[in-house]
């Protein structure tokens, strides 16, 4: 008898192992270093991979459409289009971090914009030349409307124990219907010129739209709260194991109400931003905001099951559909390809999250 020959597959596997070993060793020693462990930890989450995907997409589009995609104009308009969505997605990140979901954000945004615009149009007089007092009132109404819907969502989820999916589907319908009733389905086009100026103004060497700066401030604040404060810690603790949080003495109901209230308030804020950008209530323009926000949050690596949430991921997750949309449009493809691609990425994101969960369950 001759010695048993290793099969072809086996020898290939061995060859690969031999080749890869130095690389693996180098990676191991690298990941022991302070910087290395940071990198390793970053790539154990979805956010880093998604960021890589974003860079690759931008590279590809820039390669296919040189001088058209990464222009100052195109980048600015992409950022402007993404600003409002980012604000509601930050709130959504907290909600989904608790293991919940807020379907109502897009229509709470709309409702807040409508009530805000109507208050500024009070008495039927043209508000174009109104002063800061009227603007401030409109702002307060937008914030207050969003806050009220958010508190309602929170109460229904936390106290009445209605599943978040249904609770916020209910308030979605209610806020949508009421927005249409209040406005008679007509867009209000007259707003104080101060608001329009704000929406059009640019800062930082006159290049970056103010609304983009505001959205970035919201995102950075959200990231700080989520990662560094007790509020953020409780948010993921509740999403990770609500019962454990309750037993640890955390007032889970109150915290859930706060999180939904925050999401609603940010939606109200986004409603006001939308007024500033479009200088009208854009009643028919927010049909998909909620799903886009949720998709962005999930693509960014926040777990559908709760317990893991990242605002940085969400920010990238908001950008990817926008880059796809812009890229496909510039290349002359139908922009609906974006929806196809985003759908696929969404499924992939949730699939990898499930894989990660299953892997660790086996330990």
């Amino acid at each position: 008898m001759t010695a048993v020959q290793p099969s072809l597959g086996e020898s290939i596997r061995r060859a690969i192992q031999v080749r890869l070993r130095p690389l693996v060793e180098r990676w191991k020693s690298f990941s022991q270093t302070r910087f290395g462990s940071m990198v390793a930890r970053a790539f154990s989450t979805n956010a880093a991979w998604i960021f890589l995907l974003l860079l690759v997409l931008m590279f590809i589009f820039n390669f296919l459409a040189p001088g058209k995609f990464l222009t100052e104009f195109n980048v600015r308009s992409m950022a402007e289009n993404v600003a409002v969505l980012l604000v509601i997605a930050v709130g959504e990140t907290f909600v989904m971090g608790t293991g919940g979901i807020d379907l109502s954000v897009g229509y709470v945004l709309l409702f807040s914009g409508v009530t805000s615009a109507q208050v500024m149009n009070w008495g039927g007089k043209d508000p174009t030349n109104s002063g800061w007092d009227v603007v401030f009132l409109g702002f307060a109404v937008a914030i207050g409307s969003g806050f009220a819907w958010g508190v309602l969502n929170g109460l229904v989820v936390a106290k009445a124990k209605v599943p978040a999916l249904i609770a916020t589907l209910g308030t979605l319908g209610m806020s949508w219907g009421l927005a249409e009733i209040l406005s008679n389905g007509q867009d209000l086009r007259y707003l104080p010129s101060i608001i329009a100026d704000m929406g059009a103004s640019r800062v930082v060497f006159d290049k970056v739209p103010l609304v983009v700066v505001v959205a970035i401030i919201v995102a950075v604040t959200g990231a700080v709260i989520l990662n560094l404060t007790r509020f953020g810690r409780y948010t993921v603790a509740i999403g990770s194991n609500q019962e454990a949080a309750r037993r640890a003495g955390i007032n889970v109901d109150r915290h859930l109400i706060s999180v939904y209230a925050m999401s609603g308030t940010l939606a109200g804020f986004a409603g006001f931003m939308s007024l500033a950008i479009f200088t009208t209530t854009t009643i028919s323009g927010h049909a998909n905001d909620n799903l886009q926000a949720i998709a962005a949050v999930v693509i960014g690596g926040t777990s559908l099951m709760g317990g893991v949430a990242t605002v940085a991921g969400t920010t990238i997750g908001v950008c990817i559909p926008m880059v796809l949309f812009s890229g496909f449009t510039i290349l002359g493809y139908q922009s609906f390809w974006r929806d196809v691609a985003v759908g696929a990425v969404l499924i992939l994101a949730v699939y990898t999250d499930q894989l990660r969960r299953r892997r660790r369950e086996r330990r």
Partner: protein, 254 residues
């Protein structure tokens, strides 16, 4: 013997038509490990949940240091110095060991930042390292989510959390159920260390050998009542099993 540290008298708890506890008594003395044993459905877990505040008794009284107490929530129990290690661990699996140890009791940054709600993660990590070190738990990666730890390490985190905060009593509901030999020994060692720190430990276990090994005293529940009490010296596996299964008629007869 000293006065009991924790006393339960005539605890009744019904779940619909099921009588989980029917006038159950229970005593814990200072500086002891008392084992609470009984067959499945005897009411051990229910009793612990009531004493730890996560369930409410339908009737009965609880005394701590001779004073009648009302334990309406787990939080109240914790404030009284009563901690529980639950069977299902009650950890937040996505958070790291330090975050779990300090869950609900976070250390805040000093001054203004703390008022704003900023966490002092550095202090908490140092405290966690110390607390885990005391139990001989070596968490190689302290910043790794608890879900990534082995079953034994997870259990150690849960035990460490209770021990770190308890000043009177720690309840341990089947703390070694999911553990290997070495980790079981380590957890039992921890239980002894709890006692040596002047805190009473109540151990629920199905493992009679383990009970006889670590417990100073043993109380037996059957069908929602206490039916027997043993000192470790007077107890044998046969006597315990017999009490659990009804071989001994009622308390006091033994």
């Amino acid at each position: 013997m000293a006065d009991p540290l924790l006393q339960a008298r005539g605890i009744v708890k019904n779940y619909g038509h099921v009588e989980a506890l029917r006038g159950c008594d229970f005593d814990v003395y200072p500086n002891e490990i008392v084992a609470l044993i009984g067959d499945n459905g005897a009411g051990k877990s229910t009793l612990i949940k009531i004493l730890a505040g996560s369930e409410q008794a339908d009737a009965g009284e609880i005394y701590l240091d001779g004073r009648r107490i009302h334990v309406g929530t787990p939080f109240e129990a914790m404030r009284l110095g009563i901690e529980t290690v639950y069977q299902d661990l009650a950890l937040a699996p996505d958070l790291d060991g330090s975050a779990n140890l300090y869950l609900g009791r976070e250390v805040m940054m000093p001054g203004f930042l703390g008022k704003l709600g900023f966490l002092d993660n550095r202090t908490m990590r140092a405290g966690a390292r110390k607390a885990f070190g005391e139990l001989g738990v070596d968490l190689q990666n302290a910043q790794s989510a608890v879900a990534n730890l082995s079953g034994g390490q997870r259990q150690s985190v849960a035990v460490a959390r209770s021990v770190a905060w308890a000043s009177k009593v720690v309840f341990l509901d089947e703390p070694t159920a999911a553990l290997g030999v070495i980790q079981t020994a380590r957890v039992l060692e921890t239980v002894k260390r709890i006692r040596d720190r002047g805190v009473a430990a109540v151990l629920i276990s199905h493992n009679m050998r383990q009970v006889l090994e670590v417990a100073d005293r043993i109380e037996v529940l059957r069908l929602g009542r206490r039916v027997a009490r043993f000192d470790r010296k007077g107890a044998t596996i046969e006597k315990l099993v017999s009490a659990m299964t009804g071989g001994i008629a009622e308390e006091g007869a033994a």
